[in-house]
Amino acid sequence: MSDVLVVAEPRRGELRAVSYELLTAGRGLADAAEGDLHVAVVSGPVDRYADSLSREGVDTIHTVAQGEEFNHDRYVTVIASLVDDLEPAFLLVPHSANGLDYAPAVAERLDRPVVTDAVALDVDDETLVVNRRMYASKIETVVEVADGPFVVTVRAGAFPPAEDFAEPEITAHDVTVDEEGLDSSVRGYEAASDGDVDITEPDFLIAVGRGIEDEENLALVEDLAAATGATVAASRPVVDNGWLPKNRQVGQSGKTVKPTVYLALGISGAIQHVAGMRGAETVIAVNEDPSAPIFDVADYGIVGDLFDVVPRLVEQFG
């Protein structure tokens, strides 16, 4: 019997959505491995979190009240200790900024192989089979991992959330953390600067990516936005270059938007971008690369040069 241990992700009083998605991923894997699904929740109001994680398919929830918020040193100690107790064959962690901050260390400490950013999971005999994307999502690979037990980080949005409530067993654990030995401490949180425009409001967004090439060329897109009444948003490189302020960034570390129309110009469609715009009602993508993953999340596409398309659109609406 091979059990699965899933780690939920709390932040500032809420469980992040990926926590419930991991319950689905974990249940599927537990079924394939004929094991139980265990869920760990560490830090914050863990009893309240445990109630919320009490969903169909979960066998046991383990709560560890360790600190108010995430601290990777505490997490590594706590998770390693739970794994020693429960001996799960599979440890599943969100592929998030915090998941990346502790899962590889847990794997290293426990001497388990780690595979990150899984979009599908299976077991074949004793071998773990993980689907994951490469080349910024242009290719999906099937990776077989030998030498379990395993640590896996799971992509947000890859599994539907577990919804139906149930009554799993809830067990509280005390784990002692050596306070002297902590190499890191969290001082606080800040929201990245909010600016002039709220890109979550408008129903027409024109999003521009690295394909725009130069800051000067942004004027073209501004013209189109002015002519159509749209608002300009961007992918990360445009913001990294300082061409547009951070509050225009769409994606995992930027804003999540749900406009009626999202016109993506010269954006490849990396997962961290798609995470912020896949809820748009209608997506139109213009990209000169026919294999750009943005076309996998678009309703309409032009395989072509944005510098041919945008000036003509400006003319059309001007």
Partner: protein, 264 residues
Amino acid sequence: MKILVTVKEVTDLAADFQIADAEIDETYLEYELNEWDAYAIETGVQLVEAGIADEVIVATIGPERAEESVRMALAKGADRAIRVWDDALAEQDLLDVATKAEIFASVVEAEEPEVVLTGVQANDDGFGATGVALAERLDYGWAAVVNALELDADEGGAHVRRELEGGLEELSDVTLPAVFTIQTGINQPRYASLRGIREAEAKEIERKTLSDLGITKADAASALQITDLFEPVAEREVAYFDGDPDEQVEQVADVLADSGVVGE
């Protein structure tokens, strides 16, 4: 203070690639310095320029071809480089994190940098795990997805910002020695100047094999094997607008009008 930056030459796919027998032919692959690593190099070089660090060493795991990217790092201001490669690694299609951590750990143990910088992830395999695994192996402190780094040598620590989801940032303190995985946007990586490129030619690239580092083939065996690859299933069905640009633009205009987001 010494700074070690791990860098990777990554593969990119040509626009019109093809998959045959679960493989992509070499002709469709292009090579470049990993985007995230360029920011890590810049972070290191700026610390030297600010007088906080003395030297930036880059370390890579890769075949001879990877020296092009290493030269790029040297041209952008790194002082010297170490490249580790071995036939035992060339046979593997996906190096596992433990192997990479093992290799970099032995380089770090020889060089004893106080700060190790890596990119958050490599844009080909997107693993995002090497830096933190390395820190744990070395018993260094660490922080992942760092978009601001301030070293306080007197305190023996660093103040960092970690970028979380949805525009939220975490402020933390980390004791040195430490590994930081660097996020894009932390700075503006410089272009290599012609002079920098010329000077890089004269800088040293030290080449090492696994046995030079005391690592056995068995230690470097990967637990991971790629058994299939294909183009991912699309989430939405896309309708392409064909014709010349004028005709394509007409069709975009129709969609915009039908959706009610523009007048007419």
